[in-house]
């Protein structure tokens, strides 16, 4: 068992506890939710004063999501290599694209969709051997 793990490390493959993947997904979810709430906050805010920020519950939701994301990210970095986790976060292009279409009815171009599909393919290639 130990030998297996060592040889896997030698060729750059690492066993990752599934809990770290869960937190990576959670981190991504928080990041995307923060973007969505931030957009709603911006749409509902009048002049951008300090008071307007502090009384805007959507903005406070954004901050809460970012704080939660920071906690998740700290856990993720304890178990997953930085470059793998960081490249995985590029999936936010796809999720934000979907959210902007679903929640804000924004225009989505063919290049947006093609780019997001290429990103998903790249992420799959990066993580396929590290997935549980």
């Amino acid at each position: 068992m130990i030998d297996e793990s060592i040889s896997a490390k030698k060729i750059g493959r690492e066993r990752v506890d599934p809990i770290f993947w869960l937190f990576l997904f959670l981190s991504l979810f928080c990041q995307v939710t923060a973007v969505i709430l931030g957009k709603v906050a911006a749409l509902r805010m009048g002049s951008p004063t300090l008071g307007a920020f502090l009384t805007n519950s959507w903005y406070l939701g954004t901050v809460a999501c970012l704080m939660l994301q920071a906690v998740c990210w700290q856990i993720v970095l304890r178990g997953i290599r930085l470059f793998v986790a960081y490249l995985f976060t590029s999936l936010n292009y796809l999720l934000v694209l979907a959210a902007s279409r679903i929640f804000f009815l924004e225009r989505v171009t063919l290049l947006n969709v093609a780019g997001a599909a290429v990103i998903v393919a790249g992420v799959y290639i990066v993580v396929r051997e590290d997935l549980p």
Binding site: R78, F83, L87, T109, V113, V118, A121, V123, Y124, E129
Partner: protein, 114 residues
């Protein structure tokens, strides 16, 4: 040109910030998560990321869109490079291909903003 330099500086700061966060996470792996936020590396990392948001915002005000298309994926490349160079993370050929495909995807995605 100055805006490009400011933007790239922001990208470099954010990438170094991520490396410092990873260092903090590795040092504090046995401690509670709350404690890891008080690690000097974590504090420095978050300060650098904060600084990068300021520089990026300043640069993006004047940078032409065609340039941002090329500059956006820079952060991913730099984080991968620093992970290997400074953190000695092991990278295999498929990781490199995956990164290049992601970078291409980001460029294609951003071309769709025109």
């Amino acid at each position: 040109m100055r805006a490009v330099a400011i933007f790239v500086t922001g990208v470099v700061l954010a990438a170094i910030g991520q490396v410092l966060l990873k260092k903090a996470a590795a040092r504090r792996s046995a401690d509670s998560i709350v404690l890891s936020f008080f690690d000097p590396f974590a504090i420095a990392g978050y300060l650098l990321i904060l600084a990068s948001t300021v520089t990026s915002t300043v640069a993006l005000k004047v940078l032409p869109l065609k340039l941002t298309v090329a500059l956006f994926p820079l952060g991913y490349i730099l984080v991968v490079f620093l992970s290997v160079a400074l953190l000695h993370e092991r990278m295999r050929r498929h990781h490199l291909w995956g990164m290049l495909i992601i970078v291409a995807g980001i460029v294609i995605f951003n071309l769709g903003r025109r």
